[in-house]
Every structure is written in C-alpha cells, then in structure tokens.
Amino acid sequence: MSDKNILENALTELERDQLDSGWVHFVCTIESFPNVSDYVNNSRGYPNGATVRGLPLEDDLIVANDDSGRLMLKLATWRVSGDDISALQPFIDDGDISILTSAEFAALKPEETQNI
C-alpha cells in the first residue's frame, strides 16, 4: 500500500466532496425521473404506512439553470447507499443521471429567491 492510500489521495474528487459535504448531488432527466422514483419506492417498500413515496414529486424539484431541463436533487449521504448507486448505474452510464460535486451542483442551481 502506498502512502497515498493512507492519506486518502486515492479518493476520487466526488468521494472526497461527499465525505466533506455530507451530501450527494444528483441531476436527472425528466424522462428518467419516474424510473428513479420507482426504484426508490420499490427498494424501500413505499408506500408504507405514513410514507407515500421516497422522492419528491417531479413538480417539487428545482430545474437546472442550463436549459437542459434536468431535475436537481440533493440528499444527505446517509440516505444513499452503495447499493443505490449500483442500481442506478445504468442510468448514470446512459447519461440520464449525473452525480455532481457540490460546486458543480451549485453552478446549476437557480438563484434562490428571498421569501421574507
């Protein structure tokens, strides 16, 4: 083992960002979102008692500011397992889902309106 592994330089930029921020940042095409939502519901057994769905409805998500129409979703790292990423890999490979760093996500986020 090299010192680089011990010092964590072996982590990817994305892994390092998730460890430092505590968030996983997704963008997803509108077309693929129903499949992603279905995956979450099926993998967690929703609807289940008081929980109707795993992810917000499409209309509740913010849209990226790059005219791509992609939906943006930020989840705490504890809500996302390695199995989830594996299950979503085909969508990632097809470009329907991208996992971004905090900075990349922030650059796509629409300007927030002050509501007081």
Partner: protein, 448 residues
C-alpha cells in the same frame, strides 16, 4: 411537623396539556416511524404525534423530506455522521502510544458496517506516523502502526460479521509480533477472533504528539465513521479482559450535546462537529431536520389569530443552505408571503442572528441562531398589537404593531418550500391564547 401524604395525594408535576394547547409535540413520545410505532434511533419520522387528544399530528409523506429520530442507545452515545470534521478526540499523552503490547477496542453501531468506503474506528495518526484501525469496504480490518523500524500495516485474514443497524465491537490486539483482530456481535458469544493471527512487528510503537481520534484519523479528515459510538478503550497490554485500560471512554458519560466531558480514565474528550448533521452526544430524544429537504406539518382544525408558543430546539452548524431557516412557521396559504407568521427564524446564510416575526422583520433575537448556544427555549406571544418574545426566559423583546395572524397551517423545520432549518427539535407547545405570566413561568420551568 411535616406530613407525608399518600402517593395519590401528593401534588403532581406540572402537565402542559392541562393548559390545553392546540399542538403539543415531544421528541420523547411523539416520534413515530412509518408503521406507527415509536421511532427508534436513526429511523425516519413521517409522523409527529400531537399529544393533544384529537389534535392534528404533523406529517410528511415523502421519505426524502422526513426528519430523523435520534434516540439515546442505553444511557447515551456519540452520533457520528460519516462527514469529515466530525469526531471525538483526547489530547496526546505518553500512555496512548509508545506501546509494546497493546489492545484497541471500539464499540458502536452503524446502519451500514459495510459502507461503500472505508470507515475509521480509532486513529492516532498524521503524516509523521502513529497508528489507526479502520474497516475496509470489503469487510476486512486494516491496521497500520509505526515503529522505530518503520511503517507496518496488516489486513485481517477474514471479513468481520458485524450486523448493519446492530451493536458491534472490534478489538485489535498486538501480542508480541502477532496481530489479532476480534469482533463482538453482542449476541452472547463474546469476543471472537476474525480469521487467524497475522505476523507483525514486535518493536515498540513510536511516541507521537498527535491527538487520539475516535471515528477518524489525520485531524478528522480520514474515512469518517457513520453511526452511533458507545465506547472506546485502549490498553497497553495484550490482555484487555484482565488489565486496566489507559483510556476508557463511555460516551454516555457526556451530557446531551456537550462539546466535551471527562472520561473515567481522566482524559478530556472533545467532540468536534461541523455541518448541518454534526457529531452529537445524544442523551435525550431529538428530531433532527437536515436543513435542505426536511419539514413536517399539517393544518390546524380552526383559524389561529392569537398564539403563544414554546419551542425547545438547537441549531446545528454555522452555515445554512436556505436564506431564512425556520424552526416553526404558522401560515395561511401555501406560501408564506401572505398572512404568514413564523414563530422563530434565522436571518441569512452567514448571520447568526435570529428573529421571531409576524409577517415582517421584528423582535430580532441577536446572536441566538447559533449552534454555540446549544439547546434553547424560544417563547413567542402574538396578540392584538401586544407581542413579545424571549429566549431562555430572558432577552424580552416587544412589538406593538397590529397584525392579524389568521393562520390555519403549521410547518416545523421550514417556512415554505425553502427556509429549511438544520435543527434538533425537542418540544413544541402552541396555544391559541396568551398564557398568563404564571402559566408562562410554569411552561418554561417544565421545558428547562
């Protein structure tokens, strides 16, 4: 002469429900999981049960927006979020390295002991050397240590069998030149060796100056642990079952949300915390909102024009992802721009000020929206041009402008679709009338 009354004649403790609130939420008894049972530690909470009989529960039907329960394991634990900068440490001391034989022990729980990345258990290491033990993504254990002869590292010859979501323990023992890895599933079989002995170095470990860290190494920067930690022990002996430890941290010895405490072997344990889901000593039930997605709420059974509220909560972190993080809001429409009233609100992503407000910026409680303040009790009363707010029964602020509250909805953890707050909520009481000063004092004493 004193008289001892039979039990049922003794005056009972004050019950806030006797004042007939419209909302009464307590993390001790209101947090329900999806099936309707009491939420356990780290469960999502879709329902916050109103303790008022027939009153409106708070609910959230989308899982990614549900807050999470934190419930003490046993007498308490240290929650670590798996995020850099969140860990516990004790200062360097001569008996925490420079070992001949030694044993390291970590007992905790994790929702995912087999996380996609490695997780550190114990470390006393920086770029100049030291030692640490961590779980690898493939389930083996990795142990590294520096001696005068150089750096040594070893993997267990088999994967651990710790069960996700359950209590588990790991021991690493150096006995002469043998490195031994053990696990304890706390299922009645005690400590069992993982794989077989690994051949290592018998040379004395170096004596470094770095702090000992729990849940990470290299100054809080390496493979942070995710989950509750119950205890951490170190022996300068290969016989942990008979020798006295040189470090014995039982995290239940720390007060709820304390930033430090003294463990039984005399060292000062410091809790390092950062971000919206920080490392926390959990000694009481709290409902944690993530500051980005979470909120829970409902409609009231009738319009509210006068209100008096007590909210016991703590702010997490120093930066906020929304411009106006809100602990609790009362409002009439789906958007709070019209006829809205937040009961307690932070201002801006960089400020640590806070304010209660009634449709405008009033009664600013300067400096109170700050994790340094730990748990606070916020009180706000709104009635017919005679409003006031207090924090911890002090900092009285008043406002006399005429406002109609005119609210029929409430939301906890956010104002509208934004305004999400990074907070731990313990108790909320909302009344549809203004309490007398005596009633208010009783409420504060009860929450305190």
């Amino acid at each position: 002469m004193s008289t001892i009354l039979p039990g049922f004649f003794r005056p009972l403790g004050f019950d806030p429900l006797s004042l007939e609130p419209v909302l009464a939420f307590s993390a001790q008894s209101s947090m329900l999981e999806a099936g309707g049972a009491a939420a356990e530690n780290l469960d999502l909470v879709p329902t916050l049960q109103n303790l008022v009989s027939g009153g409106a529960n708070a609910s959230q039907s989308t899982a990614s927006k549900q807050p999470r329960a934190h419930v003490p394991l046993g007498d308490g634990h240290l929650y670590l979020p798996g995020v850099s900068g969140n860990y516990a440490s004790v200062p360097d001391a001569n008996n925490l390295d420079g070992f001949g034989d030694f044993a390291l022990e970590f007992v905790g729980s994790s929702e995912d002991w087999h996380a996609g990345l490695a997780m550190t258990l114990i470390g006393k290491w920086n770029s100049s050397g030291g030692y640490f033990v961590r779980l690898q993504a493939n389930g083996t254990l990795f142990f590294l240590y520096n001696t005068s002869g150089g750096q040594n590292y070893h993997y267990s010859t088999a994967a651990h069998n710790l069960v996700d979501g359950a209590k588990g323990g790991i021991r690493v023992i150096r006995d002469g030149s043998s490195i031994k890895f053990y696990e304890n599933l706390f299922s009645g079989n005690g400590w069992q060796q993982i794989g077989s002995n690994v051949s290592g170095s018998a040379t004395t470990l170096v004596n470094g100056s770095q702090a000992l860290e729990v849940g990470t190494y290299n100054g809080g920067n390496a493979y942070p642990f995710n989950g509750p930690v119950l205890s951490t022990k170190i022996w300068n002996s290969s016989s942990p079952d008979t020798a006295s430890p040189v470090l014995d941290i039982d995290f239940s010895d720390g007060d709820h949300k304390a930033s430090s405490f003294t463990c039984s072997t005399g060292q000062t344990v410091t809790v390092h915390r950062t971000g919206s889901d920080p490392a926390t000593l959990i000694g009481r039930n709290v409902l944690r909102f993530d500051g980005s997605n979470d909120y829970i709420g409902n409609s009231l059974s009738s319009d509210l024009n006068t209100a008096h509220a007590f909210i016991k909560f703590a702010v997490n972190g120093d930066t906020f992802s929304s411009t106006a993080p809100t602990t609790m809001a009362l409002y009439r429409t789906e958007h709070w721009l019209t006829n809205a009233a937040a009961m307690f609100i932070g201002v801006g992503t960089t400020s640590t000020n806070a304010r209660t407000f009634i449709g405008a910026t009033v009664m600013q409680q300067s400096g109170k929206w700050n994790d340094d303040n730990e748990t606070i009790i916020a009180e706000i009363s709104i009635s017919d041009g005679a409003h006031f707010s207090k924090v911890n029964n002090a900092n009285l602020l008043t406002d006399s402008r005429a406002y109609s509250l005119n609210s029929n909805k409430f939301r906890i953890g956010a104002g509208s679709t934004s305004g999400n707050a990074s907070i731990d909520v313990e108790q909320i009481y909302l009344f549809d009338f203004v309490l007398s000063s005596g009633e208010s004092a009783k409420m504060f004493k009860h929450l305190e």
